[in-house]
Subunit: 217 residues, 2 copies
């Protein structure tokens, strides 16, 4: 499998996971920053290899093979991210690009040993779940901070947006995975939210609040 094929699979996986439905050629073209015609070509190639179900004009979905292959790529990506953060002291906003390269290294043995070395983590540094060697994923119950009600309390367990800017903002505000967050109140005018993080009161915009996942406690 070429790098490009792997990247397509990964994109389709993320899109279908979010939408729970077939994805359109254009949707793929957009997030991969390429042209629809290029996507069509690749879809034919992937269909040939029984990695996607491709019916012209109808969108694509992953076959079982494709889903497993995509999960293995995601697994590699996220395990390498854990490695970079836990072992090499990178911060969570620096790891994406490097993991993007490392995810294409081909060796099952390597990734399984890395998994063991890291203590079989179930989440990456952004709180996203890591598929195990069989592709199984442990889902945890999580809610967007923006959707809590007044006075509910949660622990930060993930971020939706993993861009470097957002993560750096969180660092600056002292919000990290594991932070205890109390939802105090929502401002009806701009939907901004008053929260208390580790005893500090803070006001965050709705955009921020709708990119933070918390687990209720």
């Amino acid at each position: 499998m070429t790098f490009s094929e792997e990247n397509y699979l990964k994109s389709i996986y993320h899109l279908t996971a979010a939408l729970e439905t077939e994805v359109s050629t254009n949707a793929i073209a957009e997030i991969m920053e390429t042209k629809a015609s290029s996507v069509t070509d690749m879809l034919k190639k992937l269909a040939e290899k029984d990695l996607v179900n491709y019916k012209k004009y109808q969108g694509v979905s992953l076959t079982e093979n494709g889903k497993l292959a995509a999960k293995m790529i995601v697994r590699k990506h996220r395990l390498w991210e854990v490695f970079l953060v836990e072992k090499l002291n990178f911060s969570w906003d620096e790891v994406h690009d490097i993991a993007e390269q490392l995810e294409h290294i081909k060796s099952e043995q390597l990734i399984n040993r890395l998994d063991d070395f890291l203590g079989n983590p179930t989440e990456d540094p952004h709180g996203d779940p890591i598929p195990d060697a069989n592709g199984r994923i442990i889902k945890i119950e999580k809610h967007l901070l923006s959707e809590l009600s007044d006075n509910q309390t949660g622990v930060c367990v993930g971020v939706k947006d993993t861009s470097s800017e957002f993560l750096k903002y969180l660092d600056k505000q002292g919000i990290a995975l594991g932070s205890k967050i109390e939802f105090l109140s929502k401002e009806s005018f701009d939907l901004s939210v008053k929260i208390k993080v580790d005893e500090r009161e803070l006001s965050i915009s709705n955009k921020i609040a709708s990119n933070l996942f918390v687990k209720l406690v």
Copy 2:
């Protein structure tokens, strides 16, 4: 720099290090298992980028830029090998192919942090020196076992042949880096050598003895 360019640089580096002279197009073609004409193409490309000194008909050598670039690739390769052996418990005969992939990951930060994480090792699992971030290499005094005289004693510090077969043979014989090796005598008929390894007497062929490096003690 493409993978292929990096692989050429690395090959030229190894060839020139061994021979201390210009290398011929044909010599490169042979170890890279390709045709002389392909090599010529690449040499032009590398000369364009000021990575090699290429004078038609005269062979190539690395420029300072090229030498540094090659050393950085070797550095990555050998550091990843240390990682695989020390942290992921691979054996020394299993790591080459994986390191061959990992050496192409592009991130200076990554490799320097990996270096620190591993405790700034100076040799890889086969006893070969690891260039530091500036390309400096610490050479140690080492001799081929086949060239010792009777009753000299040394410690195994490296192998010349790093093929999986040879390394597995050494494992089977209980010879590893750090093994104390006493040179007992050489058989003049076939040049085979009697040695004592950790209190066990052993007879090894000349071929084996000329692929083992020892440091005299």
